[in-house]
Amino acid sequence: MRAIEGDAMSTERELEILSGLLDGETSELETRRILRDLDDTGAASWQRWQLAADVARGQKVAPVPVDFNARLSAALAEQGPAKGSWLGGVARAAVAASVAAATVTVGWQYWGVQQGEGQATLAGVPTEQVQEVRARPMADAFLVGQGLRAPAARSQATADPRIDPMLMRHSEFAARHGGQGMVPYARLVSADARQQEK
């Protein structure tokens, strides 16, 4: 793991890396390293990455490269729905989202008919309300990326605060058929507890 000196310094550096990652400027190895750092660093680094999330929410809290938001948006706008290598297209958005969403406490989308009400905001932009949207579990982890670019045509914040039933059903299957004992249950309980922690 890299040694971290000044907090501001490292934040700036991290954001550059993140920015590069979003622009597709990082090699696969670098990307893996970034993601590995994300995984291996413990609670201490959470704050560093929280900054990234704050940026994603449009809050100025840290020395941010001036063009960061613009480059992020541009990078995300470029992506079509194309599938490709694991860093291409949708996958890259997922990487971007996972980088940002790992720190934004991720809410879970209730699937089925939305019963949302009122206006919601994502990244400070009011989003439209749509009555009938089905979304997959963790859908807003992906939409964190989309939300930066433009008002998403969906109302993520009106999602049912309950944990996604698909995730519950999958976890239950996985616990019975998988080889990891209680791990799927632990995964579920953790996600459930985290999701309302906003």
Binding site: D39, A43, P81, G112, V133, M138, R169, A174, R187, V189
Partner: protein, 327 residues
């Protein structure tokens, strides 16, 4: 004297063989681990980590009067719990509402234990990897490497005394740890009673209701898979609804014996929208894709895969899914 010598010589000759035989049976250790998880009484605290998320949790497990009880409690942040009584699972959400996952009524699925005791999936290479220490206990380390790119690998630390899983990591092909669970305290045979597993009263109880597959058109949707990663097979199919006013959603559970994913299929009502895409949280990937129905219908379906498999594989599985109109 000669007999004794001969015996000693024989014993010496056999010892390495015995040791080897024992060491080359990670399979029996895995079986013992699955058995210990189900049959022992224990409680402990553990960490659950993915990315930079860290949860501290408590687990209690006991077999009382032939029934198996398990309770997981989230200790930091919001209080969330899961209580299991045999196959009945209850989730207690932070808002203290409860979701009941009805146990399936159909044929009993083939349990991991039975599968694994027959043979380890050939898509994995399993080896014992020396000793370790977790929660102050001596552990045997095991490495389970995926032999293709369609599944993740694992590193397990198994308690020498009880065979319980003390620590587990899920690792991707690049060695990146996607998820880690690790006990910090573990007590075997604590005095647990049924009261330790009593569900709190809740104002709101949701039930994810189990329906007969042919009771609703959604249950009759059939999927044709033109490709599946080797070793994965369907273990279960069910149809459940979250609340009585929602259409039920059919689910197909796949597993290769270690990893699993679930395919959810739902017909979209005219005028409703659905989004395609990929999301990830820790080791879990969720991918959804819109499919057209059989020819000369305007039906549209949303297929969602949720599972702990590599994203590329998940996308490929979905790309291989076709709706078969069986009505």
């Amino acid at each position: 004297m000669t007999v004794m010598l001969r015996r000693a010589a024989l014993l010496l000759m056999m010892m390495p063989v015995l040791a080897l035989a024992e060491a080359s049976q990670p399979q029996s250790l895995l079986t013992a681990m699955a058995e210990a998880y189900r049959s022992l009484d224990y409680q402990g605290r553990f960490l659950y980590m993915h990315g930079n998320q860290l949860s501290t949790m408590k687990v209690r497990h006991a077999v009382i009067d032939g029934r198996e009880y398990e309770r997981l409690t989230h200790l930091d942040g919001q209080l969330a719990e899961l209580i299991r009584q045999d196959q009945d699972v209850i989730c207690i959400h932070p808002d203290r509402s409860i979701t009941r996952l009805r146990a399936e009524t159909g044929l009993g699925p083939m349990q991991f234990q039975e599968r694994i005791s027959q043979s380890l999936p050939v898509q994995y290479n399993v080896l014992l990897d020396g000793d370790g220490r977790v929660a102050g206990r001596d552990a045997v380390r095991m490495r389970i490497a995926a032999l293709d790119s369609h599944r993740h690998g694992y590193r397990l630390w198994i308690d020498r005394d009880s065979n319980l899983l003390l620590k587990s990591e899920m690792v991707d092909a690049g060695g990146l740890v996607l998820e880690r669970i690790e006990f910090v305290t573990l007590e075997i045979d604590p005095a647990l009673t049924v009261e330790d597993f009593a569900a709190p009263g809740a104002a709101v109880v949701h039930a994810i209701e189990d329906l007969a597959l042919d009771s609703h058109p959604q249950g009759r949707i059939e999927l044709d898979m033109t490709w599946l990663p080797e070793g994965f097979e369907v273990l279960e199919k069910d149809l459940r609804r979250n609340t009585p006013d929602r259409a039920p959603v059919a689910a197909l559970a796949y597993s290769d014996g270690l990893a699993s994913f679930t395919l959810f299929v739902e017909g979209l009502a005219a005028g409703s929208s659905a989004e395609e895409g990929v999301s990830r949280m820790g080791p879990t990937v969720a991918v959804s894709r819109l499919l057209d129905g059989a020819e000369d219908t305007s039906e549209r379906y949303l297929v969602t895969l949720v599972g702990e498999i590599p994203q590329d594989t998940a996308e490929r599985v979905l790309a291989a899914a076709r709706i078969r109109d069986s009505q």
